[in-house]
């Protein structure tokens, strides 16, 4: 079974530019999560999709971040315009179930460097 795939693995852009990160969850997983880790901090929740619907986007930092999951399969996270503080590693995770006993499978992450 293929795991969670994220692309690109590393992106270097200048402040003010746009970047789009992509996540392909495990096939059949309705639940897709985005998390990120900025330098020196813990991994933090960004948002959660159930199929194509946003279940919870309380962790999105501001309106420069836009996440989509058209068709309920892969998801994209766009940052526009990027700022220096957006640098970090963005993780995608997926799960079959949706409960307190949920177990997430994470991708390897997309490292974003904003110069």
């Amino acid at each position: 079974e293929a795991g969670v795939t994220q692309f690109p693995s590393h992106s270097v852009i200048e402040k003010g530019q746009t970047v789009t990160l992509r996540c392909d969850p495990i096939s059949g997983h309705d639940n897709l999560y985005w998390y990120r880790r900025v330098m020196g901090k813990e991994i933090k929740f960004l948002l959660h999709f159930v199929k194509e619907s946003k279940q919870d986007e309380s962790g999105m930092p501001n309106n420069r971040f836009l996440a989509e999951r058209t068709g309920g399969t892969y998801s994209t996270l766009k940052v526009q315009p990027a700022e220096l503080e957006d640098s970090g590693v963005y993780f995608c995770a997926s799960s079959l179930g949706f409960s307190g006993a949920n177990v997430l499978t994470f991708g390897a992450g997309s490292r974003l460097t904003v110069l």
Binding site: N102, A108, G109
Partner: protein, 113 residues
Amino acid sequence: SQKIEQNSEALNIQEGKTATLTCNYTNYSPAYLQWYRQDPGRGPVFLLLIRENEKEKRKERLKVTFDTTLKQSLFHITASQPADSATYLCALVAMDSSYKLIFGSGTRLLVRP
């Protein structure tokens, strides 16, 4: 707000010994707590989940305890091996609309041969 504390200093132990990592939390009463392993350049990998009504959970050489009175979880690796060297993350499950994970900053474990 919820706060999770893990020892930020690396834990350095000799192969064959038992590694014990600590996770303390405040301002929360989680029903579930999870432990993940993270290697450099990789995403977190799920290891164990423990429920609030479970005192202890085991899986092969791994053992997790959950003390809701002390607000603490301990993670043990017995007969440690150099391959166990990694960062170990504690995560509480938020009982909200998303069951999001609230992570600690992780503790790095180094097992010397």
